[in-house]
């Protein structure tokens, strides 16, 4: 009986079913590609505004695709569900942890602006290349770890791969001062997401309208 009726497994399967549409992969992949435009700005600062404008537009498009896709493509196929109190508690914990990540990221961002405008309070004992490595490491760790931690709370198994790809992509982009690693990371996240999304559409046809209300 316990083998046939594992309630935890039933709940877990139901919860994880919401990640089988590939939309989160597409969203993070598209976001990474949009962010890559920030790293593509020439050293001279030429047409900086255009790059930043397109990057922000890309972020907005990625967000819109994710939200609209969930609403108009995934939900009508997978249905509506409200999970139990344990899941809701887990979601609140995740929000607190992610809030911590946002605060740390914001702190690092403010500090980098300060150093850029004012300079370091004391002369750095590190060489320029070592400083670059340190910045690359911090950026890679924060971005990768935030996705991995969020994936842990969401039980989104592919998220671990996405976190590693994103972290390594950002790390090598900053370390090598080249936009290629972050573009490669974005593509490595986006392309599997597209394949998963197409498979999802094939496996989950839209149910008839009447069936959604149990009147068939």
């Amino acid at each position: 009986m316990s083998q046939n009726l594992d309630l935890k497994a039933i709940e877990q399967k139901a919860f994880r079913s919401f990640h089988q549409d590939g939309l989160l992969d597409i969203y993070i992949g598209a976001l990474t590609l949009a962010i890559s435009l920030f790293f593509a700005i020439p050293e001279s600062g030429e047409r900086e505004g255009v790059y930043m404008g397109f990057a922000l537009l890309g972020v907005a498009i990625a967000f819109a695709i994710f939200q609209l896709g969930k609403k108009f493509i995934t939900t009508p196929r997978l249905g509506q569900v409200r999970f139990g109190p344990e899941r809701q508690r887990r979601k609140v914990t995740m929000m607190w942890v992610m809030g911590g990540f946002v605060l740390v990221t914001f702190g690092v961002f403010l500090y980098s602006i300060y150093v850029w405008k004012v300079g370091l309070p004391v002369p750095s004992p590190l060489s320029a290349s070592l400083e670059r490595s340190l910045v690359a490491l911090i950026a890679g760790l924060i971005s990768g770890a935030s996705v991995i931690v969020k994936s842990y709370f969401m039980e989104f198994v592919r998220g671990y791969y996405i976190g590693f790809a994103l972290g390594f992509g950002l790390f090598f982009t900053i370390l090598l001062n080249s936009v290629i690693p972050v573009i490669a990371a974005g593509a490595l996240i986006l392309l599997p997401g597209l394949v998963i999304f197409v498979n999802f559409l094939r496996q989950h046809p839209l149910p008839p309208q009447e069936a959604r209300h149990g009147s068939l």
């Binding site: 079913s17 997978l78 249905g79 509506q80 109190p85 959604r212 209300h213 149990g214």
Partner: protein, 108 residues
């Protein structure tokens, strides 16, 4: 095991809640037990039942007072959400207990 004990165990089988015991309904009730609520599409996706089959089982569970069917709207779209009632939850717990007890009592 004595013959009388064996016959007691077999007699206990007749006390099993048949509304829940049917395999398809057991799947539906077990799924709703771990969720707060879900609609027809979600339950159909998770269990693999056809619409007609699912609808028939839900009707039986609703008639038995185990499942609550709430018809409403989300924006302009009609939405029907299903959830286990307190009676349904209690019945499922009792079913689990009695099945476990019965299977544990069987001789090796």
């Amino acid at each position: 095991m004595a013959a009388s004990e064996m016959s007691d165990s077999l007699a206990a089988l007749t006390d099993i809640d048949r509304l829940i015991h049917e395999p398809a309904r057991l799947q539906i009730v077990a799924l709703l037990y771990v969720l707060e609520s879900a609609d027809f599409v979600f339950i159909s996706q998770q269990t693999g039942f056809t619409w007609g089959n699912l609808s028939a089982h839900i009707t039986k569970l609703e008639d038995g007072g185990y499942v609550k069917v709430e018809k409403g709207y989300k924006g302009k779209r009609p939405q029907t959400m299903l959830s286990l009632t307190a009676k349904g939850r209690k019945a499922f717990n009792a079913y689990r207990q009695s099945m476990k007890q019965m299977l544990d009592d069987l001789p090796e």
